[in-house]
């Protein structure tokens, strides 16, 4: 568990994002309940959680749209509330729910937002319009949800920013456009930009993210690289053995052994994998399959679901 990362702090580098113990309440609701989140420069950070977990609220605190009740927040070395407008010259943002001025065209919206940020890259603007197959001459009110999303994406990706805050940026996009989006994010990463990618689509985060934070009810419950997170959880082992592997349940770290027609299935803590496999060998292994937990399983485990398959 890498929840509080101050122990591994790299003092020399200014973190792209650092949220410490952020609390934000709306009336009775604690939308953020002691949230810690750190994003290092140059990384793509997956920010995962279901709807209502607090992802958008955290991003809006980072943008200075909402003021945290308590805790400390820094973004690109500045105070997101106090220095909002100045910081935003280095930030590009895609909101979770894109609302556009109905009587402006998509092209006009892209230009307006670009100029308000302090200018956009003409070459990238043309390239992104082309890659996302967006017609810039249509009035915003006639765009579908997917096309409104594309307007916000093109506006953000045409910017040369240090930090990209993307709040569920692919909702409403079709699979082809989703693939195009993933290519664009990988390009940003190779150009050295930092990306905070909020999502509830795990495959997206799995494909793009260097590190992942899982948020639940306003708190980050797990944070780390995918490998670290996997290491902290259990591997599923499925084996056919010559004699029934009856004793396997007694090995330290083995959970939920199930026997069926000479086949045994169990979960084992990653630290005890070695011991479990040695014990298994004594029963005469005929076939062996083991797979690390998918992100899906990590995620569901955090939400207290039963994850045995």
């Amino acid at each position: 568990m890498v929840e509080a990362r101050e122990d591994v702090c790299h003092d020399a580098r200014v973190r792209a994002i650092e949220l410490r113990d952020i609390v934000k309440t709306f009336g009775e609701v604690r939308a953020l309940d002691g949230l810690y989140l750190t994003v290092e420069p140059g990384e793509v950070h997956g920010f995962l959680g279901p709807n209502g977990a607090g992802k958008s609220t955290a991003i809006r605190v980072l943008l200075g749209l909402l003021k945290a009740d308590s805790g400390s927040a820094t973004m690109l070395g500045g105070d997101p509330w106090r220095d909002a407008a100045e910081l935003h010259r280095r930030v590009a943002y895609v909101p979770g729910d894109v609302a556009l001025w109905p009587n402006l065209t998509g092209g006009e919206v892209i230009d307006v937002l670009g100029r308000m940020r302090g200018g956009l890259d003409e070459g990238r603007r043309a390239e992104m319009l082309d890659r996302f197959e967006l017609d810039p001459r249509k009035k915003a009110r006639t765009y579908s949800k997917g096309n409104r999303q594309k307007v916000a994406l093109v506006a953000a990706l045409s910017a040369r920013a240090d930090l990209y805050l993307l709040d569920e940026p692919t909702s409403g996009l079709d699979p082809l456009m989703e693939a195009e989006f993933q290519r664009a994010v990988l390009e940003l990463k190779s150009a050295g930009a930092t990306v905070l990618l909020s999502s509830h689509i795990l495959a997206e985060a799995e494909a793009l993210a260097d590190r992942i934070s899982i948020i639940r009810a306003g708190r980050v419950v797990q944070s780390g690289t995918l490998a670290e997170l996997r290491h902290l959880t259990r591997t599923t082992v499925i084996a056919d053995t010559a004699t029934p592997a009856t004793g396997i349940g007694e090995v330290d770290g083995v959970h939920n052994p199930q026997f069926l027609d000479g086949r045994v299935t169990f979960d084992v803590d990653s630290d005890h994998l070695d011991a479990a496999v040695r014990a298994l060998a004594a029963f005469g292994v005929r076939s062996l399959a083991a797979h690390p937990p998918t992100l899906e399983e990590l995620f569901l485990r955090q939400y207290g679901e039963d994850v045995t398959t």
């Binding site: 809006r60 943008l63 200075g64 749209l65 909402l66 003021k67 909002a84 407008a85 100045e86 935003h88 010259r89 930030v91 943002y93 909101p95 729910d97 894109v98 609302a99 556009l100 001025w101 109905p102 009587n103 402006l104 065209t105 092209g107 006009e108 230009d111 307006v112 937002l113 100029r115 308000m116 940020r117 302090g118 810039p136 001459r137 249509k138 009035k139 009110r141 006639t142 916000a152 506006a155 805050l165």
Partner: protein, 541 residues
């Protein structure tokens, strides 16, 4: 399954959605009519000998005939001439908004698709929208009639008057049903219906202007163009004089034909599309759009143009009337003298007209500044504040547009009055100097109201729209236009910023009140700025 299956269920849904909107429209209009009727009733009870001469003034002036059809020397008829056009336009707008809201807007926002998948016929939403609008007009007819009866007018005349106004709403219910099929957007459908309303007004106005006057100069008979217009039909019922019922048939016929047309069109098009497709726009933004104030200008320029046309029109009419004012006697002169605060009747008249324009422009400023709240609540503000634009800069963009727009509108009104007044009176240059000064002196009071709206939007975002309009109505009613007639105490009248506007050109402009208004405006703007910096954005859920 019939095309109208589910209509009544949609009616219940629509009534539930409109449970505040429609009562507010109808009650507001009835209260306005009852209050003004009571005012004229009171004034002519004190001076009954003035009713005939006042009617003659209106009848003999083609500019005044534009505003309505004079049917004879009665208080009810006189009131209908003064209020009839305003009420007819409001009834039409209420109906247009209601029909478009439940047809085209539902489609545009995708609600129709959800309903269309249920047990709901293709024409059910048109049917429901028409039924709801008709019900609203029925209630409106009753409330308007009741308002006039309560204010002491004859029962039959009052009921005919109420019905005649509501019939304009009925005809435009049909118009909006058709425009909702033609245009593919809410704005387009509303705009087309508004254009039809404008044409309807012009036809009625032309018909009355070209109409024949009887020998006593007490009643007008309209020329043929008035018979081509729903507003004209409504006026031909001649409440308080002839009380004719049959012109109502014309409006009913129009509703029937237009609604059938709408149903035919609906059968020939896809859900979500109009008969006329949406036009494409520019691929790139013009340089003038690339700043916050340029963007705000673009967002409100259509509305500003509409207001400008309206104010120029009224400026020309009121300017042309300057000639008649010198001949006024009795009660009307008292009102202008009380308003203008001087024995110089013409100066008092100009001062009062300029104040009326000031009130109208204040309403424009309020609608513009409330967009700040709509931007915030609908989510269009979020991407803007995600850029390097600060909150203060966004607020300033609106404030600058409000001030420039307000200055433009009062000046256009003044220049229009000068052009028309100069033609009948001569001496245009000195008139121009006087009226431009009188126009600019309205701005501090307008700015106070605007700054109050900003403070409300920043302090109480969720309540700001309602409270802002309450503030406008309060400022108008306790102000100089109604305050003295209602006999309000001076401390109450002093609460309206408009009570402190110098009555230029009747009296010279003294700096004291202007400086005080500017100071109040600055204080309110300061409150707005402080509140804005402290609070969260009121974001959509």
């Amino acid at each position: 399954m019939s095309g109208f299956t589910g209509t009544m269920r949609l009616v219940r849904l629509a009534l539930r959605r409109d449970r505040i909107t429609l009562p507010a429209w109808t009650l507001g209009m009835a209260a306005f009519l009852a209050a003004t009727t009571a005012m004229f009733e009171d004034s002519y009870t004190k001076h009954p000998e003035l009713l005939a001469p006042d009617t003659q003034i209106v009848v003999e002036n083609p500019g005044m005939r534009v505003l309505g059809l004079v049917t004879g020397p009665t208080v009810g008829g006189y009131t209908m001439h003064r209020d009839g056009l305003t009420l007819a336009v409001l009834a039409a707008l209420m109906s247009v908004f209601a029909v478009v809201r439940h047809t085209r807007q539902s489609e545009e926002l995708g609600r129709e698709e959800m309903l269309g998948a249920g047990v709901v016929g293709r024409y059910a939403s048109i049917g429901a929208a028409v039924i709801v609008a008709l019900a609203a007009n029925l209630v409106l007819a009753g409330l308007l009639g009741l308002g006039m009866i309560v204010a002491g007018q004859p029962v039959t005349g009052s009921l005919v008057a109420g019905i005649s106004i509501a019939l304009v709403g009925v005809a435009f219910t049909g118009v909006a049903a058709v425009t909702s099929q033609l245009a593919s957007t809410t704005r387009g459908a509303t705009g087309l219906a508004a254009a039809a309303l404008g044409a309807s007004f012009l036809l009625a106005a032309t018909g009355n202007m070209l109409g024949t006057v009887d020998s006593a100069a007490l009643r007008v008979t309209s020329a043929w163009p008035a018979w081509l217009s729903p507003i004209g039909w409504s006026q031909q019922m001649r409440p308080f004089a002839d009380n004719l019922w049959w012109p109502a048939g014309l409006s009913a016929l129009a509703l029937g034909l237009l609604t059938s047309g709408a149903v035919l069109l609906a059968g020939r098009r896809d859900v979500g599309r109009g008969m006329w497709p949406e036009r494409r726009g520019a691929a790139r933004a013009r340089p003038s759009l690339l700043s916050p104030s340029g963007l705000v200008w673009r967002l409100q320029r259509g509305a500003l143009l509409g207001w400008a046309i309206g104010l120029v029109g009224f400026g020309l009419v009121f300017g042309a009337l300057s000639e008649q004012i010198g001949g006024l006697e009795g009660a009307a002169t008292e009102w202008y003298a009380a308003f203008g605060g001087d024995a110089d009747l013409l100066g008092a008249y100009w001062a009062s007209m300029m104040q009326v324009a000031g009130l109208a422009v204040a309403a424009y400023v309020v609608t513009l500044l409330l967009r700040l709240h709509h931007d915030e609540a609908q989510g269009t503000l979020e991407p803007v504040l995600g850029t390097a634009v600060s909150r203060l800069r966004w607020l300033s963009a609106y404030a600058v547009n409000a001030l420039v727009g307000a200055a433009l509108l009062v000046l256009l009104f003044a220049v229009a009055m000068v052009i028309a007044g100069g033609m009948v009176l001569g001496d245009t240059p000195s008139l121009l100097r006087d009226l431009v000064g009188a126009a600019l002196v309205q701005l501090p009071a307008i700015a106070v109201l605007g700054a109050a709206v900003l403070a409300l939007v920043m302090l109480l975002p969720r309540w700001s729209v309602g409270l802002s309009w309450v503030l406008v109505v309060f400022a108008i009613f306790v102000g100089p236009m109604f305050g003295p007639s209602l006999g309000l105490p001076s401390w109450l009248m002093d609460l309206s910023p408009f009570s402190h506007v110098p009555n230029a050109p009747a009296v010279s402009i003294s700096p004291g009140p202007v400086v005080a208004l500017v100071a109040v405006c600055a204080a309110l703007a300061g409150v707005a700025t402080l509140a804005m910096r402290r609070r969260d954005l009121a974001l959509p859920a």
